[in-house]
Point group: C2
Chain length 206, copies 2
C-alpha cells in the first residue's frame, strides 16, 4: 500500500514522464538519427512543451545517454539466462526481431558515434568492450566444457559474433522479409560449437 | 596526345571539379553523417560557392548517390582479383584500413539508410544483395573445389561474412588500436574453409 501510494506520488510522475520522453526520443532518433533529430521534435512527439522536456533532460546529449542506458536495462539478455549460451543468443535475437525501432536506433547511433565529437562514442566503445568480454567469458566456459570446436579461440569468436550480429541486423532492417537474423547466428554458432552429445563422445573419460 | 588535350578541356575541368566536391562531401558526411551534413558545409570544404556546388550537384541527394557510386569504383576489390577468395578478402580488408574516412562514411550512411525516407536506402539494399550474391558464388566455387568445410552453406557464409565485415569495421572505427579487422576475418575464414592441401587429401581421387 505504501509502495502504491509512493508510486502515485511526484517521483512516480517524474519517472513516468521520463519514460514517455524516452519513448518519443526512441521514435525520433530511430527515424532521423541523433544528429538530425531535434529536441523540439521529441517534445512534439511526447506531446509536451520544449521547456517541459528540458526540465527532464537538459540537453539532447543527456537524452541520448539516458535512452542508451534504458536500452541496456530493457534487453532480456541482461536479465535472464538459461545458462545455455547458444539458446540465450538465439532467444535474444528473436526478441530483437520484435523491436525493429530499437534495433534501428542502436544501428544508427552506433554508426553515428564514429563521427566527430559524437556524445555516444564513449558509450559505444565501453559497450563493445563489455559485450566482447562477456562473450569471451561465455565461450571460454563452452570451451572448458568441451563444446567449442577444437582450435576455436573464445576471444576471436567473441569479436566475430558481436560484429556478425550487428551487421546482419542492419541487413535485416533493410530487408526484413529476406534476412533471417536467427538463421545466420545459428549457422555461425554451428560452426564454432559442438553439440552437447558430441562433446560427451569427444571426452568419454568423464 | 589527343587524350591529353581532351583531358585539359572543359569536360576534364568539370570531372575534376566533381571529384573535388565528392572529396569534400566524403569529409563532411563522414564527420557528421548525411542528414546533419549540409551542402553549405560541403561547398565551404570544397572552397567554392554554394551555387557553384549546386551547378554540379543539384541536390544533397544527388551528391550522396554520386559519392556512394564512386566508393564502389575506387575499391580495389572490384578491379583486381588473384582468383583466391581468401587472399582477395584479406587484401581488400587491408586496403580498407588505409581509408578510415571512407569506411566511416560507409558505416554511417548504411546505418542512416534505415531511417525514414533516406535517399541511400535503395542503394544499400541493392549493394547488400549484390555483395551477398557475389560472395555466394565465390564460396560456391570454393565448395566445388573441395575447399569449403563439409556442411558449410555458401549462401549462409556469404551473409555471415558480409555482416561480420561491416560489424568488425565499426568496432575498429571506434577502437582502431584494439581491433584487428584482418585477424577477425581470417579467423572466420579459417572456420569455413579448408587449406588447399587438406582439400587435396580430402579428395585423393582427383
Amino acid at each position: 500500500m505504501t509502495t502504491d501510494a509512493r508510486r502515485r506520488g511526484p517521483y512516480a510522475k517524474t519517472a513516468e514522464r521520463r519514460h514517455q520522453i524516452l519513448d518519443a526520443a526512441l521514435q525520433v532518433f530511430a527515424a532521423h538519427g541523433y544528429r538530425a533529430g531535434s529536441m523540439r521534435e521529441v517534445a512534439r512527439t511526447a506531446d509536451m512543451s520544449l521547456s517541459n522536456l528540458m526540465h527532464h533532460f537538459r540537453t539532447k546529449e543527456d537524452l541520448l545517454l539516458a535512452l542508451l542506458r534504458r536500452r541496456d536495462d530493457d534487453s532480456p539478455g541482461q536479465r535472464t539466462g538459461t545458462h545455455d549460451l547458444v539458446a540465450d543468443i538465439l532467444s535474444q535475437a528473436r526478441w530483437n526481431q520484435t523491436k525493429p525501432d530499437l534495433i534501428a536506433l542502436y544501428a544508427v547511433l552506433s554508426a553515428e558515434s564514429v563521427t566527430d565529437g559524437h556524445p555516444g562514442r564513449d558509450y559505444f566503445i565501453e559497450r563493445f568492450v563489455t559485450v566482447r568480454r562477456g562473450f569471451e567469458e561465455e565461450f571460454g566456459k563452452l570451451r572448458d566444457a568441451g563444446r567449442l570446436r577444437p582450435g576455436v579461440d573464445p576471444h576471436m569468436v567473441a569479436g566475430c559474433i558481436t560484429a556478425l550480429w550487428d551487421g546482419i541486423q542492419l541487413q535485416w532492417l533493410l530487408q526484413p522479409d529476406q534476412i533471417n537474423v536467427v538463421a545466420y547466428l545459428e549457422a555461425f554458432l554451428d560452426l564454432v560449437t559442438l553439440p552437447p552429445d558430441t562433446a560427451f563422445i569427444a571426452d568419454p573419460g568423464c
